[in-house]
Symmetry: C3
């Protein structure tokens, strides 16, 4: 797999230095727990995966949600609405492309499928989104400092 | 990425120590082969990815399937039914959240999409499930000792 | 996780030696950027993730596309068609099972969901495919030397 050195005219994003396996595995595990907490309606535990002043700009709101109290309140509201509608939602995040910012923060751009399943009904792909996060380390663990989500059906 | 130490009131699941990159990559590769064997109808090879006495509690059965002979028989039956129906199924497993049990066994909770595609037809999201596995090491490789699958449209 | 040594009659594909975490994480990151470039219509940057003489055998064509100029032209054409149709496509690649070839090349078999979303419309699972790649290292980074894609609704 040494490969010959072929000069190339195009500097591609794919040629960016990949993160270490340790860093990439930590990011993948972070998102697995983060999304399982969200889908379980674990509002406080989920909010704690953001920094204290973490922000989340969802496509449905004109202004970002800021801080853990507001983040947790949003999850409780969504969980109540889903319970009333008799639906489960799953957030499937993948295709993580990661860059490292000037201060070591992780800039993670991911694809997100949101799957909705009504009780006794057929699952459906509810939304296809792109999720752009800034992750930082706090107390030895990754946290979301900023999140921006865009929907594929908009814009 | 050193980060400041912010005291926190909430101990979240996301703060659990992540697995090593080695362990996480091994789990991901285990599942990739395991699911590709299943979808290819490779009944014996798939059953061999369980322990000898491995059990699988699918949502469709009142009692778990136990042991490799029964596991393989289940795959052969499903493959025959799909061939007759002219459909392919793909099991897409991801969002793996992993805890380590008291004896070092791996407790893996994953999201599973089952995609069905009829010959000359449109693919559809057939089922959205949660897959909870206990993985152990046997002969130097991971195996499923117990599997429990729940469907999002039930319960 | 030491595990007892149980003798086994079946040598399964799952028992193949897994890749190192470093190699597997590099492959995952390669595909994340590769697919995000494709979906963004970044024709040249995407083509540069193939080797100079890289080939791509898509299900829609009788002959493989060969070389970066042709690969880039294909992306530009597809991007123009999607823009005219008012649709976005996302290529979600996962379930990577990797073998190592005789010359160290990586043989990667993956599942691919192609998600289509019309502007102001519902996302749908457009195609379910299997993607078989030969990856090699060139200039220190992975590149696709050969790609073969098959659709689940055919054959």
């Amino acid at each position: 797999m040494a490969g010959t050195t072929v000069p190339e005219g195009t500097e591609s994003a794919a040629a960016a230095t990949p993160l270490s396996a340790d860093a990439y595995a930590e990011i993948q595990q972070f998102y697995a727990r983060h999304m399982q907490l969200l889908d379980a309606g674990e509002a406080e535990a989920w909010a704690a995966t953001f920094t204290e002043d973490g922000s989340f700009a969802p496509p449905s709101l004109p202004e970002p949600i800021r801080g853990r109290a507001q983040l947790a309140a949003g999850v409780r509201r969504a969980a109540a609405e889903l319970a009333e509608a008799g639906e489960r939602h799953r957030h499937l995040l993948g295709t993580h492309a990661v860059d490292v910012g000037a201060d070591g923060e992780l800039l993670v751009r991911s694809y997100a499928q949101i799957i909705a399943t009504p009780r006794n009904g057929q699952p459906r792909l509810h939304l296809m989104c792109v999720c752009e996060d800034v992750l930082v380390r706090r107390d030895g663990t990754l946290r979301v400092r900023e999140r921006r989500v865009t929907r594929d059906d908009r814009g």
